[in-house]
């Protein structure tokens, strides 16, 4: 039996699952954690050589990579701004900026 979970911060005690058990796999995708960020990586595609060093070090899979193994711009829904990618980039194609919002 697959239960479709529809739980949010206004759910009542009658609506929550017992013990908070999550009856659904892969649902971390629905939990957008990018708003935890205080610093933001900015991608400069002109400087990027597609060397492939940045995306393996991202702890949150926030750097999308296409079938051609080329990276795209950051997925800010999940990027927490740790800055590891900016540190490993040999070409200064990633710069960290203060999050404004």
């Amino acid at each position: 039996m697959i239960i479709i979970m529809n739980i949010n911060k206004d759910s009542t005690w009658e609506e929550l699952t017992p013990g908070g058990t999550i009856y659904d796999a892969g649902n971390a995708r629905e939990f957008k954690t990018g708003d935890w960020r205080s610093a933001k990586p900015v991608f400069n595609s002109d400087l990027c050589k597609q060397c492939g060093l940045c995306f393996p070090v991202c702890p949150d899979d926030a750097i999308p990579v296409g079938k051609d193994m080329a990276r795209g711009d950051f997925n800010y829904d999940y990027c927490k701004g740790c800055g590891v990618c900016a540190k490993v980039c040999p070409f200064k194609a990633i710069t960290m900026e203060e999050e404004e919002k």
Binding site: I3, W13, L16, G20, T21, Y23
Partner: protein, 391 residues
């Protein structure tokens, strides 16, 4: 036909576990509960059960292994006492909040220090609000019977809470008494198989157990636990009635002994009830209307029912088998009197700490309590020691 045997409380408990035949038993030895996993591991070695026995390195791990096994969809059990329960305390609450109906015999023992290995109820009382159902047992028969009823209560879909079966360390755990056992096949039918609605090893429904539960959710999950505890009252009644049909042995939230017309009532739990009954018989011959209210179901606490049962008494003494070190009453006393307060019943009720660290409780001491109750003039001295040596 039932089987007549002579078993200690620990043997009777281990025997019940053999008949229940759980999927996993994870336990660590600690006096006085050590014999339970010891006997049980013999059953495992002899191939008399199908259980996976996990010889863990401590009680924290014992409860953690039970949590994992129960979440996976199995039936898991352990047993402990005193410091063992203290050491697993963290996981005890993970079990209840994750709604895993683990069953654990708790062989009551003092909590150190100074170091003591003998009976009192400090271990149980220190865990009384951990969200577990707690049943108490006067003798070996009650300990066995509570074990047989445990899974039906804990695993009920409206409950899904872990359950402790308490009995007095050494006093009943190591005393051999006559006991009536139920045949294996009848126990098997009564206990049934565990069929959880959701479990980790169900490949058709991948689930996550024990997630983060921040400000928007924890209050509501605790409300669910509170409702489950309320539901447990109904289920305990139903299961006890079914058990009575099967064995003829009647169990309720509490047992009254000569309680109906009693003017002076003692409230207590576990083995001391036997001493109180003996004393009541003596006093009744002298014309003293003494009575007993022995609590079997401590969590959920039947405050309303207890208050009503005590409403016609002239005075009541609640015996707490824990040290009173809080400058107020003991845990059992506070639960009883708050039940009375809520029901608007105002019977003078005093509190004794007794039997701490295995101190023997005698008929003479219980007679002293009934004498105090008969002479009770006011509530100037509500918190008292029983059997204290003083100048």
């Amino acid at each position: 036909m039932s089987i007549r045997e002579r078993l200690s409380g620990n043997e009777a408990t281990a025997f019940a576990m053999k008949q229940i035949n759980p999927d996993v038993v994870a336990a660590f030895p600690i006096t006085p509960s050590t014999e339970i996993p010891q006997y049980f591991s013999t059953y495992v070695a002899n191939g008399q059960v199908d259980t996976e026995f996990v010889a863990v390195e401590g009680e924290h791990s014992a409860m953690a292994a039970c949590i994992g096994a129960e979440a996976a969809g199995g039936r898991a059990m352990t047993a402990t006492s005193s410091q063992g329960l203290a050491y697993m305390w963290e996981m005890v609450q993970i079990a209840s909040s994750s709604r895993l109906p683990i069953v654990m015999p708790l062989i009551n023992r003092a909590i150190s220090g100074p170091l003591n290995i003998h009976c009192d109820h400090t271990d149980a009382m220190a865990s009384r609000d951990c969200g577990w159902i707690m049943l108490f047992s006067e003798d070996n028969q009650e300990a066995y019977d509570n074990m047989i009823m445990a899974h039906r209560i804990a695993e009920h879909k409206d409950v899904m809470l872990p359950l402790m079966v308490c009995q007095d360390g050494f006093i009943t755990s190591h005393s051999i008494e006559n006991i009536e056992l139920i045949e294996d096949d009848i126990v098997k039918e009564f206990v049934g198989t565990y069929k959880p609605a959701h479990y980790l090893l169900n490949k058709k429904e991948p689930i996550a157990v024990g997630p983060m539960d921040l400000q928007p959710y924890l209050t509501e999950h605790k409300k669910q636990q509170a409702v489950a505890m309320e539901n447990a009252k109904i289920v305990i009644k139903e299961v006890s009635e079914d058990f009575e049909k099967m064995t003829g042995r009647k169990y309720d939230f509490f047992e009254g002994y000569k309680l109906e017309d009693a003017e002076y009532v003692i409230v207590c739990m576990n083995s001391t009830a036997g001493t109180v009954k003996e004393t009541i018989d003596k006093l009744r011959e002298l014309g003293v209307k003494a009575g007993l209210l022995k609590i079997r179901m401590f969590r959920p606490f039947p405050g309303e029912e207890i208050a009503k049962a005590l409403s016609n008494a002239k005075s009541v003494a609640v015996l707490d088998r824990v040290p009173l070190v809080s400058a107020t009453g003991g845990p059992l006393y506070e639960d009883v009197v708050s039940g009375m307060f809520v029901e608007g019943i105002n019977v003078p009720t005093i509190n004794y700490t007794y039997g701490v660290g295995g101190r023997d409780v005698t008929v003479e001491q219980i007679e002293k309590v009934y004498a105090d109750l008969q002479g009770l003039k006011d509530m100037k001295e509500p918190y008292r020691f029983l059997g204290l040596k003083s100048k």
